[in-house]
Symmetry: C2
Subunit: 219 residues, 2 copies
């Protein structure tokens, strides 16, 4: 139950809609379930590399600072979920590509252990659907960058967050994105959220073939 | 005209179809046009880092050796064109996601100069469309890795290839991919190819927002 608290508000900010719908929670699960569930067994006491090298920094108020120079675009790409408008009339909740990245240190740890270390950062950059018709056929081609979100796993900094993951939304507008993003506060959520999140663990992890293929397979 | 020679056979191998169709050439252009056109002004004499650090290796027969441990998945991701079957009945020529990566050294050079250095490697890994229906809506979600292709720019190794780019297809089957891939030999192509390739330069570069955003903007 606790797991849904931050995820719910995270989605509220994205959707400007209430928490508790299967749709919104499931989308969140699709983006981050693989992270949450695979990291659930890591405790601060046993996690390796606990903040040894932070991929991101926070300001004095605890806001997440945007990595300089779009650094995440040189991190490890893990997948691009897409639910376009034309398949979800009249309007998809998330009509853009979501290019999802993980910081390289966390990826290396994940390859080795199958678990996400403290300090893992997952960044999701939103990309508009650009062209939908090319000589190669009808389809979807990435247009422009239109938003930035992130989640950070840090047991020391977020001891009360589910799995120690905290969620941040920088912008749902084109770059330049704001310099910092506030932590999305925890909030209550109904059982529908929980059910969707729990039962779709396996389903949603298959959106990230890079992680699935690398998990615990050594370096 | 010369530009189409290698691209034609490269596509032939992929499509098992003849060269000369707008479709096949345009698809090729979509994958690699950004590379070809932006690199066209680089000559072996002026390019920096000419093979100073090769991102890939070749065997004694000149075959491209597959990077170890799926190393390209830790390179810089640049985009994922998608032309799914359901939008291209009865069968899309390329129904899968194409996750496209560039080696980090070439990306750094491209950011600095807006041009691709000698030794640039672009790798395209094919990913099946997995789920098309999730709680978040109808859409496209990456399934499994199902193929690997590459192009390498190297004026010394490929002096006669257009722009010094050579094309390789490792596999259109799931991993493990073959250890090596042969150079796709040059072949003739008709003027329709040329026209499609030329006029879609601008159009196809917009499939790679990461490159477009970084081009020549410094480090």
């Amino acid at each position: 139950m606790k797991t849904q608290k931050s995820s719910a508000l995270f989605l509220d900010a994205m959707l400007s809609a209430i928490c508790g719908t299967m749709l919104s929670t499931a989308l969140f699960a699709g983006l981050f379930t693989v992270v949450y569930f695979t990291s659930a067994t890591i405790t601060p006491a046993t996690a390796k590399g606990d903040n040894a090298k932070e991929a991101v920094e926070f300001d004095a108020q605890g806001n997440l600072i945007q990595p300089d120079n779009f650094a995440w675009r040189e991190w490890v790409y893990i997948g691009s979920p897409l639910t376009p408008n034309d398949l979800n009339p009249p309007q998809a909740s998330f009509p853009e590509f979501h290019n999802v990245y993980i910081n390289p240190e966390a990826y290396a740890h994940y390859k080795q252990t199958g678990k996400f270390p403290q300090g893992t950062v997952i960044i999701k950059e939103l990309v508009s659907v650009g062209s939908t018709q090319a000589s190669s056929g009808k389809g979807y081609f990435q247009g422009d960058f239109i938003g930035l979100e992130a989640t950070v796993k840090d047991a020391k900094r977020f001891p009360d967050e589910p799995g120690n993951w905290a969620y941040f939304t920088f912008s749902h507008e084109p770059a330049p994105y704001p310099r910092t993003a506030k932590l999305q506060p925890a909030a209550s959520c109904n059982m529908a959220c929980h059910q969707a999140l729990a039962e779709d663990d396996w389903v949603f992890t298959q959106y990230y073939p890079v992680l699935r293929d690398a998990k615990g397979k050594g370096m």
